[in-house]
């Protein structure tokens, strides 16, 4: 609920070429104490972003003004570990609408879609091409088209198609969510539950 629908996103991207980025890094457990879903962006990648005195670490990409955009590009196995949806909230709250990687952990992938962040899985080769394009030009634009299921490096025209099931695609395009769907079939569920 309450996320912006997703259609075509054209933006520069923030590179995070690290593998196995786990959800404890995305949002450390000590910041999970809120009872609302907003405000987590301030603590996105907290311990990589700030030192122990809460001063920004200059060498971390989110503190580097050269890089900005609504797309986060991460290394293989992005989002492993804890099921905390707070990780996806933090990414959304910070302003990202899309995460690109060559491989996503299952729970994170599902959580991301459920909160309006599109996980785009590309081949390791194409991921490398994206990192290279950003290295050449930090403002290099990436276009993510959900209707066409296509991600393009605008400067070179190189593209790849990505997979998403039709149901989830329709949800994201329209800003629908699973709860709307499930509420509409409650009598069917209740009938099923009788024998369980």
């Amino acid at each position: 609920m309450a996320y912006d629908s997703f259609n075509v996103l054209k933006s520069s991207a923030v590179p995070l070429p690290i593998e196995n980025v786990d959800t404890d890094q995305i949002i450390p457990a000590r910041f999970l104490k809120a009872t609302e879903r907003t405000g987590f962006g301030d603590n996105l990648f907290r311990d990589w972003r700030y030192d122990k005195n809460d001063a920004p670490k200059a060498d971390f990409v989110l503190n580097n003004p050269t890089y900005s955009g609504k797309i986060l590009v991460g290394g293989k196995n992005f989002g492993s570990g804890s099921s905390r949806e707070h990780a996806a909230w933090a990414i959304y709250d910070y302003g990202f609408r899309c995460v690109v990687s060559s491989f996503f952990a299952d729970i994170f992938r599902g959580n991301a879609i459920n909160v309006g962040v599109l996980p785009v899985q590309v081949s390791p080769e194409f991921l490398h091409e994206i990192f290279t394009a950003i290295e050449v030009d930090p403002k290099a634009e990436i276009e993510v088209s959900l209707p066409e299921q296509k991600i393009t490096i605008v400067s070179t025209g190189a593209f790849e198609n990505f997979a998403i099931n039709g149901y989830k695609k329709n949800n994201l395009l329209n800003g629908f969510d699973d709860i709307d769907y499930l509420q509409a079939m409650k009598s069917e569920i209740s009938a099923f539950a009788v024998n369980r």
Partner: protein
């Protein structure tokens, strides 16, 4: 339904599909739902915002565990944010008529310890919780896995979630485990072979005589760690060991209902000719007590080995170097003899009675190393009571250990049980991620036996020396 051979996983999954969506996920019915204070408040807020209610409150069970203190639980919780989460859980469960075992309740404890302990977890069920270690309950032949908070809201409001059916993997471990090799070592060994993403997209069935001979506590430890190889969950076919564990537990079926359920449970096994998308077999004799040296659970090795080089590690050189630098270790280091500052025994991975028995078997008659701070945290009040009844409490006390009160504690350090920056902790928990046990903390994952040996000697020690 065809009569072709099917797997345990298929049997349980297929019987819970309410509706199949073309080019989409299954609408998947959930029998039992556990909630806790950290991942549920936003789900309840969602219900309120939408103006919808809880469909089947009797299928949801709440316990407070993630942020709770492990000392002085009779006093008000000092941290105002944690106290508020606990209060919200209490209010939300009261409002919707959901069972709640809060702080101070004799049934309180870690969600994945108290569920099985009270007979809530049963074979053939579908079980979810907003916690990735929900895979623990797969030890009973249930399909159990962690979900996000949006899905917690789905289960509360409709008792269903939307899930694409995972692929199937079977992991066989055959043979006899060596001296000092525990279920935790079996799991850490498998993860070190598969890596933290090796089973992503799969649901695992563990099979082979090692698991058949394993206690329920041991099976829970193994299934608990399924998520650490990327699997959504892991399960073990129920057998007499399972039925004996469940029988007589408070919320387990009784009388005629027991007989009926038992007959069904006995059908829950993989047919002889059923096939898996992936099948892997390991030999028990290759496994020794394990320890991790890096910053993900896949970076583990036999305790007698030396830290391997980057090419053998998932994630390549960048991840490997970043990881070893964080840990303060170098390639080819032996872990034996490395100084240990903290020892933590507890968590949903190793916080059950069998784990404390193992720990006590080594510390008995010995003394804790003076420089080591040890946190001994039972998984529940029931485990705590067992520790006292069995005389383990006295063994611990004589050896210089203090017993704390139940909770998730230093596993994720949401409460005050934080390992200080730069310090080394041998921990029986499940994750050695950077800062997992407190900002800057350095975690060495291991079994209760390895933890006990480290607590006594103050350095990483092969527990077989004490056995």
């Amino acid at each position: 339904m065809s009569n072709s051979p099917t797997t345990l996983f298929d049997k349980v999954w297929d019987s819970h599909v309410v509706r199949k969506i073309a080019d989409g996920p299954d609408v998947f019915f959930i029998d039992r739902h556990f909630i806790h204070e950290v991942t549920s408040p936003v789900a309840f807020l969602g219900l309120l915002t939408r103006g919808i209610g809880v469909l089947s409150p009797e299928r949801t069970f709440a316990t407070a565990d993630h942020n709770t203190p492990t000392i002085n639980q009779h006093l008000p919780v000092e941290d105002p944010l944690s106290a508020n989460q606990l209060l919200q859980l209490e209010k939300n469960t009261a409002k919707y008529g959901i069972s709640h075992w809060g702080l101070g309740n004799p049934k309180n404890g870690i969600v994945h310890v108290v569920g099985p302990e009270n007979g809530i977890t049963l074979p053939g069920m579908t079980i979810v919780c907003g916690d990735s270690h929900t895979s623990t309950h797969g030890a009973f032949g249930a399909i159990a896995f962690g979900i996000g908070t949006s899905e917690v809201e789905m289960v509360l409001s409709s008792q269903c979630i939307m899930q694409p059916k995972p692929m199937k993997m079977r992991i066989n471990v055959n043979g006899v485990l060596g001296k000092g090799v525990t279920p935790k070592d079996v799991a850490l060994y498998i993860i070190s072979k598969l890596s933290t993403s090796g089973a992503t997209g799969y649901f695992v069935e563990y099979a082979g005589d090692v698991f058949e001979k394993m206690s329920m506590e041991g099976r829970m430890t193994v299934c608990n760690l399924s998520i650490e190889m990327g699997a959504r969950g892991g399960m073990i076919a129920p057998d007499q060991t399972t039925f004996d564990y469940i029988h007589g537990r408070e919320l387990a079926p009784k009388g005629a209902d027991w007989d009926k359920q038992l007959a069904y449970w006995k059908t829950l096994k993989t047919d002889a000719d059923a096939t898996f998308d992936e099948e892997i077999t390991f030999s028990a004799s290759d496994i020794e007590p394990m320890i991790t040296y890096g910053t993900n659970p896949g970076m583990g090795m036999g305790i007698s080995k030396h830290i391997p080089n980057a090419v053998d590690i998932e994630g390549g050189v960048t991840t490997y170097e970043k990881s070893l630098e964080y840990m303060g270790f170098a390639q080819n280091d032996s872990m034996i003899g490395k100084k240990v500052d903290y020892v933590f025994i507890g968590s949903c991975t190793n916080g059950r009675i069998e784990d404390f028995r193992a720990f006590a078997s080594i510390v008995k008659g010995r003394k804790k190393a003076e420089h080591v701070t040890a946190w001994v945290v039972p998984g529940s009040h029931v485990v705590e009571a067992q520790i006292r009844e069995e005389g383990i409490y006295d063994i611990l006390t004589e050896a210089g250990f203090a017993l704390r009160q139940p909770g998730c504690s230093a596993c994720l350090a949401m409460n005050d049980d934080k390992i200080p920056a730069g310090k080394y902790a041998v921990s029986t928990s499940n994750r050695n991620f950077e800062g997992r046990q407190g900002p800057g903390s350095r975690t060495l994952l291991a079994s209760p036996l390895v933890a006990a040996a480290a607590a006594i000697t103050g350095v990483v020690t092969d527990p077989r020396e004490f056995l």
